[in-house]
Structures are given as structure tokens and as C-alpha cells.
């Protein structure tokens, strides 16, 4: 039976690739998207999410609009990374479908509470929606089967400040709430995602199949690769979110360590820094499993095979 998943997302180039990977994977049943501010404005992220679903003939998947601002911090978007539209050079048609009337946090609560122990939630944006849902419905914590979070930089340098990773930096208070809620969590930090680089040659291989899917991936990642080159000196682009998504059905791609993890919310230079207590100085219990090793080529190969399959289906 397919694994039932929900994605909380701020699409976003790599978010879009994660959504496509979910739709391309027979192991998964994608049953809802809750959208949050982050890579781009909420409005833009909602439109992008709907457009991606339409591109993959998956408008049946409900999409709910969530929070437009972080809990406490001021808004921070990432147009330099994802382009002004949030999808790089891709120019998808305006979506015909609409978001549900339900709020993103309520979609999560309703799906999870009506199917206790069933859902895996993959959170690949700032954690505002998830935190709000946990505080509004505390029982959600026990009803959620598993939470996979793309976020944090444990030993790796940050991609937003010297220390902090974007999703966590944008709403560190939400991350604090989610980390300590008591949900079984797998964290997918930059330590592993920055080893997963999609190369121009990978995209060329994909383009041998003529499809709106392969063309979208070219247009979106083209911008993303230019960003990685000019800001970080990386050839190719790091596809963070698809790795987190892949772990729902291919957990063997990573090696994990169980650790007490926390995030700095004090407002100093390390605000938004996610850290693990490897030597257990603080004598706090383990609160998550952290991916610290990855087989990057296996993952990129999986991503390419799946998106090739989806491209063939949608000519």
C-alpha cells in the first residue's frame, strides 16, 4: 500500500522538484499540500504550488493556503535564490485551480487527526504552519506517524547566515516549537543536502525526453544553477527538498544519528542556528534522527529516473 504523505512547502524551485518527485513515485500517495511563506511570498507560493500540480496533471491534490508571516521574526523571502516568481526562469501558465478554503494549518490538523498513525508529513519550508497546527491541536503530535524536515545546518556552514540554514532562520521560533513537540522527527540538514548536486549534464539527460516536465526542470534549475555559481561557487544546484521527500520511501539513501537537537532563538549572531548535542553535555533526551551521511549519486540517479518516468507519462 502506498505511503500517505502531506507536504508543507513554500514553492520554491527545489520544493517544486520535491512535489514532482512525490507525484512520480508509486510508493507514495500525496494527499495534500499546505503552503507557507518562505522562498517567495505566500501568494506566489500558492500560485506556484497549484501550477506545479496542474503541470503534472495532479490538480486533484488539495492545496491549502497557510501562514503569510513567520511567528515572531520579520518576513524574509529569497528572490535571489529562487527568482522573483519563485520558480527561476520557468514561466508556468496561471493556475486554473484554487486553494481550498481551509487554512493550511487546519488541513494538516484535519488530515492527521482523522487518520491517526497514518500520515507522514514532509516539511520543506519554514515551520510556521506546522507549529501553529501543533499549538492549536496538541493531540496532533500523537496522531502524526512521522515528520521529515528539510532544515538546519548541523556541522555545515549556513546558507543564510554564517551559521543558519534558510528554513530554520526564517522562523526559528516555529522550529523550536516543532523540535520539542514530541513527534518522531527525521531532520535533513544542509550537511547531507549540500552533497546532492544536480549537474547541467543531468538536466541534459532529462531533456532527451520532450515533455513539459523536463522543460520545467530545465527552466527552474537554470536560474538555480546560476545562483549557486555566483553566490557559493558551486557548479550545478543543490536539491535540498527532493532529498527530504525521497527519504519517505528510500530511507537507505542516508545514514542517521539520534541526537538532542535545538535551535537558537535568542536573537544574537547565532539566531536560527540548529545544533546537535553530540556529547550530550546538556543531558537532554534525543528528540530526532538526523541525516548526517548520504549516497548522493544514488539519490540523484533516483531523482532522474523518477522525473524521466513522469516526463514520459506527460508528453
Amino acid at each position: 500500500m502506498a505511503k500517505r504523505i502531506l507536504i508543507d512547502t513554500d514553492p520554491g524551485i527545489d520544493d517544486s522538484l520535491a512535489i514532482l518527485l512525490a507525484l512520480a513515485s508509486p510508493e507514495l500517495s500525496l494527499e495534500g499540500l499546505s503552503v507557507v511563506h518562505g522562498n517567495c511570498s505566500l501568494e506566489q507560493a500558492v500560485a506556484n504550488g497549484l501550477s506545479i500540480l496542474e503541470l503534472a496533471n495532479a490538480s486533484r491534490v488539495p492545496l491549502a493556503k497557510g501562514c503569510e508571516l513567520p511567528l515572531v521574526q520579520p518576513s524574509l523571502l529569497a528572490p535571489e535564490t529562487h527568482g522573483n516568481s519563485g520558480l527561476g526562469y520557468a514561466n508556468l501558465p496561471k493556475p486554473r485551480s484554487r486553494p481550498t478554503v481551509q487554512h493550511g494549518s487546519d488541513l494538516l490538523i484535519e488530515k492527521i487527526m482523522s487518520n491517526p498513525g497514518e500520515f507522514t508529513l514532509v516539511a520543506i519550508g519554514p515551520l510556521t504552519n506546522v507549529a501553529l497546527a501543533i499549538r492549536k491541536e496538541p493531540r496532533m503530535v500523537d496522531a502524526l506517524k512521522e515528520l521529515i524536515i528539510m532544515g538546519g545546518a548541523i556541522r555545515h556552514e549556513g546558507n543564510t547566515t554564517a551559521l543558519a540554514e534558510f528554513n530554520t532562520y526564517v522562523d526559528p521560533h516555529a522550529a523550536h516549537i516543532v523540535y520539542h513537540a514530541g513527534i518522531p522527527i527525521t531532520l535533513v540538514p544542509l550537511d547531507v543536502t549540500y552533497q546532492c548536486v544536480l549537474m547541467a549534464s543531468d538536466v541534459e539527460r532529462l531533456l532527451k525526453i520532450d515533455s513539459p516536465i523536463s522543460q520545467f526542470i530545465r527552466d527552474a534549475t537554470g536560474f538555480y544553477m546560476e545562483y549557486h555559481d555566483s553566490y557559493q561557487g558551486i557548479k550545478g544546484c543543490v536539491i535540498n527538498d527532493p532529498l527530504a521527500l525521497a527519504l519517505t520511501f528510500a530511507s537507505e539513501l542516508c545514514d542517521y544519528q539520534e541526537l538532542p537537537v535545538d535551535v537558537d532563538i535568542s536573537g544574537g549572531v547565532s539566531t536560527g542556528k540548529t545544533f546537535a548535542d553530540f556529547y550530550n553535555y546538556d543531558k537532554k533526551p534525543v528528540n530526532m534522527k538526523v541525516a548526517l551521511g548520504v549516497r548522493p549519486r544514488d539519490f540523484i540517479e533516483l531523482f532522474l529516473e523518477r522525473t524521466e518516468g513522469l516526463s514520459r507519462k506527460i508528453p
Binding site: V72, E137, I265
Partner: protein, 316 residues
């Protein structure tokens, strides 16, 4: 003038309970609902106390919506030393017959406020968790609230939970930060003024001359709190929460000044401290009116008179 329509967001709490009674006793006020939150007591007790006190005031038609069980980021804490383990001192009200509505307080606040923009004022007299969640969940909420009158903060007064911080703000400083900066017309009633509104034993004795479940409740509820206050060197127990209603029923008793106000949520010794930029050193525009002066004895007298009227109308 038609009565002002208010929702009280509350964590009852002895002085919270007195606030409901004062609202029910005041023709200037139409109490539309109570929304509950953790704070003085757990959410469960807060909700039960809210229902019980409304029943005591013959007002169980007023809806109660249960809200947040935990502060946003900080761990849960309750203050049983002031309010007793039940939250209403030694008062023993019967189990309420009425129930809270099914809707979550956050959604109830959003629905009521958006249905009638600029009609409903909200009086938060507990930690600000529910308000903060409503603001973040529904971006249109802030513009549609008529006004907030918040009991919270200690501007130039000592804190009552740390040397610097007042209880409601300390319990959920992140929520306070969200609410203070939401752009809603706000009046703050801090400890600076509530500590000047002290109810004394002899005034409780005066109330007890009227035999009523209302006066009996006030006496029983307030006993622990009164002793606690005398032990700390106060001349009586401060009616923190009821003073918010002075903004409607006796605004002339309050002196208000406009300030830029913020709250420390950085986790150091000043965690939860509410401060006002009195000299304008930050150059930031004022975001609320702060009560800096009060005619405390006049307010206490008004409170007692209203309770006497209510007590006379409710005799067993």
C-alpha cells in the same frame, strides 16, 4: 449610547473571574463571549472556571470557547500560589452545567471579528497566545479588531514573576511581541496602575453585608490572594484584570500616554520584560496607549458598588 461589545480572552484566575462579574454588572458593556487560555491555571481549569463564573452571574447564555493549552514557545507554567490550585482561590463553585462551544478560541475570535469589522473589542487579561495565533492565522484579523485593552506588563513598576517581568507577558513573551506589533489600536493596563487598585479586607466585609452567592464567591475566591498580597506588604489585593474595564466604564480614572512599547524575548534575565521608549530614543512610532496613572480608590469604590448591585439581583 449603545453598550460596547467585548470579548474577554482570559485564564480565570481570581481577578479574571471578578472581571466577568464586573462586565456583567456594567450596563456600558455587552459581554459577547469568553475565550480561554492557559495561564493562571491550565486550559481545562480555566475553561471550567469561566463556565462556572458565568453560571454564578446567571449568564450561561454567553459562549465560552477554549483556546491554547500551551504558550507558543515557552514551557507551561501556572501560578497556584496566587490563585489556589483551582484558580479561584477557596471558592467552591458547582461543576458547570454548560459546555464550551466546539470551535477553537482562535477560530472563534477570527470568525466573530471578521463577521463584524471594527465592532468587537477584545480584552485580553491572560497570556496573549490566542490573540497571537489569530493574528498569524488570519492576516485580516488585525485590521478588523476594533480595539485591544490588555492587562499586562510592568513599565516602571517591579515585575510580579521575575524582578522585571509581569506574569501574563512573561508566560508568553513571543505572543506578546506578535500582538504588540500587529498594528491593532491597543491600550495597555500594566502593573504600574493595577498596583494602585487594591481591594482591602474591610471592603470585602462591606460586600458581605449583602447575602448573595456573588458576595460569598468574592470572599472565598479572594481569601488566598488577599493573604498573599498582605504577606508581600501590599495594603490589599490588586484588581489587575477588572481595571481593564475602566477603559469603558470610567475612562476618566485612567491617565494614558502613547508610547512605543516592546517586550524582551531573548531569553536573558529580562525575558518577558515589557518596556516603553519613554524618551523616544528608538525613534520608533508609538504602538499603543499605556495607562500611567489611575485614581485607584475611585476605581475600587466603583467596583464595589457594581458588585453590590449585582449581588442584590442574585440572591440564591
Amino acid at each position: 449610547m449603545s453598550p460596547k461589545r467585548i470579548i474577554i480572552d482570559t485564564d480565570p484566575g481570581v481577578d479574571d473571574a471578578l472581571t466577568f462579574l464586573l462586565a456583567l454588572a456594567s450596563p456600558e458593556i455587552q459581554l459577547e463571549a469568553l475565550t480561554t487560555t492557559q495561564g493562571n491555571v491550565t486550559l481545562e481549569k480555566a475553561t471550567r472556571n469561566a463556565l462556572s463564573v458565568l453560571e454564578l452571574g446567571r449568564a450561561s447564555h454567553i459562549p465560552v470557547a477554549a483556546g491554547s493549552m500551551y504558550p507558543l514557545v515557552q514551557p507551561l507554567r501556572a501560578s497556584t500560589d496566587v490563585h489556589g490550585s483551582s484558580g479561584i482561590g477557596d471558592a467552591r463553585l458547582p461543576e458547570p452545567k454548560s459546555k464550551p462551544i466546539a470551535q477553537h478560541a482562535v477560530d472563534y475570535l477570527i470568525e466573530r471579528v471578521l463577521a463584524e469589522p471594527n465592532e468587537i473589542s477584545i480584552f485580553p487579561i491572560g497570556p496573549l497566545t490566542n490573540l497571537a495565533m489569530a493574528i498569524r492565522k488570519e492576516p485580516k484579523f488585525s485590521k478588523a479588531v476594533k480595539e485591544l485593552v490588555i492587562m499586562g506588563g510592568a513599565i516602571q513598576e517591579n515585575g510580579n514573576v521575575t524582578p522585571l517581568a509581569e506574569f501574563n507577558i512573561f508566560v508568553d513573551p513571543h505572543a506578546a511581541h506578535i500582538v504588540f506589533h500587529a498594528g491593532i489600536p491597543t491600550t495597555l493596563i500594566p502593573l504600574d496602575v493595577t498596583h494602585k487598585c487594591l481591594l482591602k479586607q474591610e471592603q470585602v466585609d462591606r460586600l458581605m453585608k449583602i447575602k448573595s452567592p456573588v458576595t460569598q464567591f468574592i470572599k472565598d475566591a479572594i481569601e488566598i490572594y488577599l493573604k498573599f498580597s498582605y504577606d508581600r506588604g501590599f495594603a490589599g489585593c490588586a484588581l489587575h484584570d477588572p481595571l481593564t474595564l475602566a477603559a469603558i466604564i470610567a475612562p476618566e480614572l485612567l491617565t494614558l500616554k502613547e508610547y512605543y512599547v516592546d517586550v524582551d524575548h531573548s531569553g536573558g534575565v529580562a525575558m518577558g520584560k515589557t518596556f516603553a521608549d519613554i524618551f523616544g530614543v528608538t525613534q520608533k512610532p508609538a504602538n499603543m496607549k499605556v495607562a500611567v496613572g489611575v485614581r485607584g480608590d475611585d476605581f475600587i469604590e466603583l467596583f464595589i458598588q457594581r458588585m453590590e448591585i449585582l449581588a442584590r439581583s442574585i440572591t440564591e
